[in-house]
């Protein structure tokens, strides 16, 4: 009996050692980045590396906003990601409803087509969209980034929302139809309110995807004041210097809100992420 107990204790210790190691490896780069961002300049280049700075400095954070148009990057990213999310859910929800709950011929082909479009490599649509935006004079505008972002955001929204709609119990429509509801009323007054939490989940995921996009933003926003956060930070290094401190501070500035978002909404995000692949 006692032996069994001590085996469980050892097992538990090993288990928590694993969990701590797992979290440790995930968090370590952020920890390092954060420490770098508050170090005095001389300690960034210390050999051997100094893990804990001797004093706290905020200069790099000031640099981020004074030497670079970082506030503008944040606004750009926010505007583009918000509009993209809003539009793709707006267009996607009705399509998802049809795919999940209405019977029609060609459903399987539509689902396959949407899935295929979500797998399009960005690079394969880059040149035509570039030419198109150039002709329409939309390079370096918000619309010029929202349009290409819809190419991945819309299939993603449709796909995830379809799975959520499919999970709603069957028979809602029949009951509503017997009460004399029109299709539009069923959709807007019954289904949409039911799917609200899912829309929030999907919205979060689409928003994060749009916020993080790199290759379109790099190509279509060439004016420094129109850049988004991921590209803006990546272009901090110039030919003359590698401002590690500024880069670390900028990373902290974009990471902390994302971490808070993830901590608050982790259940919602996970519900969205796992619905596409995990079938019950």
């Amino acid at each position: 009996m006692r032996e069994k107990k001590s085996i469980t204790i050892v097992k538990n210790i090993l288990f928590y050692a694993f969990v701590i190691m797992f979290i440790g490896i995930i968090v370590l780069p952020f920890f390092w980045q954060f420490m770098t961002s508050i170090k005095p300049l001389s300690e960034i280049a210390a050999i051997p590396a100094k893990w804990i700075p001797s004093s706290v400095h905020g200069q790099f954070y000031v640099n981020v906003f004074e030497k670079h148009p970082f506030a503008k990057y944040l606004i750009n990213s926010f505007v583009v990601a918000t509009i993209t999310t809003f539009l793709s859910i707006l267009i996607g929800a009705s399509a998802a409803y049809a795919l999940a709950r209405l019977r029609f011929k060609g459903k399987k082909i539509m689902l396959m087509a949407i899935l295929s479009i979500s797998m399009f490599p960005t690079i394969a649509t880059l040149s035509p969209i570039y030419l198109l935006l150039k002709e329409l004079r939309l390079l370096n505008t918000y619309a010029g980034l929202v349009i290409p972002y819809i190419t991945f955001a819309l299939p993603l929204s449709i796909w995830l929302l379809t799975n959520f709609f499919a999970q709603l119990p069957k028979g809602f429509e029949e009951a509503a139809a017997i009460d004399g509801c029109s299709r539009a009323r069923i959709f807007f007054q019954i289904m949409l309110p039911l799917i609200k939490p899912a829309i929030f989940s999907v919205g979060l995921i689409v928003f994060i995807n749009a916020w993080n996009e790199y290759i379109y933003a790099l190509t279509f926003m060439t004016d420094d004041l129109m850049r988004t956060v991921p590209v803006g930070i990546a272009l901090f290094p110039s030919n003359y210097e590698l401002p590690w401190g500024d880069m670390a501070a900028a990373t902290v500035v974009v990471t902390v809100p994302l971490i808070i978002l993830v901590l608050i909404f982790q259940k919602k995000i996970i519900a969205g992420l796992t619905t596409g692949g995990v079938k019950e």
Binding site: A113, F120, Y214
Partner: protein, 301 residues
């Protein structure tokens, strides 16, 4: 009676209503996804260097594709990309699966673990690439510091200045970003394996490996395949990570980076588009392969 009739009407218009509801999405996708792909294919059949409009952008058939086969740099990029895909996806599957199996139980701090898992996923790849680039720094990077403290290396290395070092650095960074995500998806799949199944298998005398093989695996197969499909595609299309971390130096040029250089740096839309079409075709083949393994499960609603 009247109600029943109305229900019948709604049924009759079901197919029409479905197409109406999908109409905006179909139009949008045709214009901004299908049309560009077709135009890329069309561009790939032309000699089209934007800096040389005097050429008149003539139609040259499949010549651009012929050029890829003879382009040593393109072949190197293809080989590198395949190596990168194989290395990252297999490691991510192995590590993700192991972590999910270990953590597939109720324990204190599970919420914290899940939140931690989501963080690398939520951070822009370009930002994590920069973070890791700093970690690999030859003089004051964390990587050298940790390795020399635990005695793995006795001299600081310039990891990003050799081919092997760069490859390893890219693979580690990619694993760091996506293995936790893989673990998350597999964990969600594992939670649907009914406990009774394990109990029954135990009573039948199945050992831990048999239980894994015959109880766990079949249940999570779909989840794992879907996760693998998307990971494989992402790895094959890799761009942000490489562009920020190595810029494609030291033999780390992926096909996307190479195609991008042709398109946006040399403005060679003909050849660049041919590369892009090739990437598209490979991605398509990879998905077909997985779809076959998945059968109808993914589009079954």
């Amino acid at each position: 009676m009247a109600g029943k009739k109305r229900g019948g009407t709604l049924e009759k218009t079901e197919s029409r209503d479905a197409w109406i509801m999908m109409f905006p999405a179909i139009i949008v996708l045709l214009v901004i996804a299908v049309y560009p792909i077709l135009r890329t294919v069309w561009l790939s059949l032309h000699e089209m260097v934007l800096t040389n409009p005097g050429s008149g952008y003539p139609f040259i058939g499949l010549k651009n594709y012929g050029a890829i086969v003879q382009d040593e740099r393109a072949i190197t990029a293809i080989v590198f990309t395949l190596k990168f895909t194989l290395a990252t996806v297999s490691m991510e599957l192995l590590l993700g699966f192991t972590a999910a199996l270990i953590m597939n139980k109720a324990f204190k701090g599970k919420g914290l673990v899940r939140a931690a898992i989501l963080i690398p996923w939520a951070i822009p790849t370009s930002v994590s690439a920069m973070m890791w680039k700093f970690i690999y720094n030859d003089q004051y990077g964390l990587f050298n510091d940790v390795l020399s403290r635990i005695g793995v290396i006795d001299k600081y290395q310039a990891w990003l200045s050799t081919a092997d070092g760069s490859f390893m650095a890219l693979v580690i960074t990619d694993i760091w970003k996506t293995a936790p995500y893989m673990a998350l998806l597999i964990l969600a799949g594992l939670q649907m394996v009914p406990e009774e199944l394990y109990e029954a298998a135990k009573i039948d005398g199945a050992n831990i490996f048999q239980r894994f093989l015959y109880v766990t695996l079949p249940t999570v197969k779909t989840t794992v395949l879907v996760a693998l499909l998307f990971r494989t595609l992402d790895a094959f299309r890799v761009f942000d990570l490489i562009s920020v971390m190595t810029g494609g130096a030291n033999g780390t040029e992926s096909v996307s980076v190479y195609a991008y250089n042709h398109l946006m740096k040399f403005l060679d839309f003909g050849y660049g588009s041919a590369m892009a079409v090739m990437i598209f075709v490979v991605v398509f083949l990879i998905s077909l392969l997985y779809m076959r393994a998945l059968g109808d499960q993914i589009t079954d609603l």
